[in-house]
Every structure is written in structure tokens, then in C-alpha cells.
Symmetry: C2
Subunit: 104 residues, 2 copies
């Protein structure tokens, strides 16, 4: 979880993820699109890879990067837990509401 939130914390990295959502890209293409140098992009891709948010595929002298959505779901599950398993008072109210809707 730590490496995931760390990876998501930077605006440039989030921009990279948004780009990879549309299509997989090489490091060079990413560097052209983002307003940072190539060494910086390389560093960002490293952090995204550590978090398993992106996967690297080597194609000759290029390296193509893909988005990995499965770990994105992991974050969503954690966040969902924050919303779902909430205070007893609210859980009680939710149960009451449900009962009113399901009983005749």
C-alpha cells in the first residue's frame, strides 16, 4: 500500500497513468508529452513500476510501458473500506433504511 500511494502522490506520475490509460507508450513518448526531462521520466517510471502500476515490455531499443489496472483496484478496495465499514450509528441507519425498502 505504501508504494502505491507514494506512486500516486506525484502529479507528473498521475499524468503518465492517464496517458497510459489511453494507450501504452515508450519512455521517450512520455518524456515528450510531460514537461520534464528524460532522466526524470525514467525515475517516475521506476517508481510506478515498483508500485506495479505500470509494466515494462522491451521492444528492441524501445521499452513500451503499459498500465496495470489490477493494483488500482487494490487502492479502491482500501478506500472503499474507509467508506463502507463506518460508524455503528450510520450502519444502523443504513440497515433501517434497507429494511423499510425490502419489507411489504
Amino acid at each position: 500500500m505504501n508504494s502505491l500511494f507514494k506512486a500516486l502522490n506525484d502529479p507528473t506520475r498521475r499524468q503518465i497513468l492517464e496517458m497510459l490509460r489511453v494507450q501504452s507508450l515508450t519512455a521517450g513518448e512520455i518524456a515528450d508529452a510531460c514537461q520534464v526531462g528524460k532522466p526524470t521520466v525514467s525515475h517516475h517510471l521506476d517508481i510506478l513500476r515498483q508500485a506495479e502500476l505500470v509494466e515494462e515490455e522491451r521492444q528492441g531499443q524501445f521499452r513500451r510501458y503499459h498500465l496495470n489496472t489490477s493494483v488500482v483496484e487494490d487502492v479502491m478496495v482500501w478506500l472503499g473500506g474507509l467508506i463502507e465499514a463506518t460508524k455503528p450509528a450510520i450502519k444502523k441507519a443504513a440497515a433501517k433504511k434497507l429494511k423499510a425498502r425490502t419489507s411489504p
Copy 2:
């Protein structure tokens, strides 16, 4: 979005959110539970408040902190966009699958 991901990036702050999920707490109670000093907790609560992840309610000499789930949903929406609006090839495949399921 920036302040939200920044707030979520620290393990202590995530622990605070998990505690507030169960019940609202005072700064002192949080400091007792977490393994950090009171000034540090105060700082973390400040960052969580900037991200609107927690809300402060003054009760005499105490300050009670509540979890605000609405912005948690904002993060989930952003993450969901990463999953949903995916590559055209996959979208096409999904459409095909849907058609096979809905047509006679």
C-alpha cells in the same frame, strides 16, 4: 486532487483515517493510539483537514475529528476513470462481448 493524494501518502495519516472510520476521536486520543508525539499528530490532522478528509468539531477544550467520506469518493472516481476508460482495443472487445450476450 493533489492535497488528497498527499494526505493519503503517509502511513500514520492512513492509520488515523482507519481509526476515524470506526469513531470520531480527539487529537489526544489519536496521539495515544499512534506511535508519534502530539505535535506530529497535530500536523497530520492539519494536512488531512486541508484535503478535507477530516473535519474538526470544537467541544470545549477538546477538538473532535470526524472522517469525511465524500472526498474519499472523489479519489475513487479518479481511480475508476483509470480503469474504465481504457484502450480502444479493449473497449472494442468489451463491446463485442456485450453484443454477443444481448443479441439472440
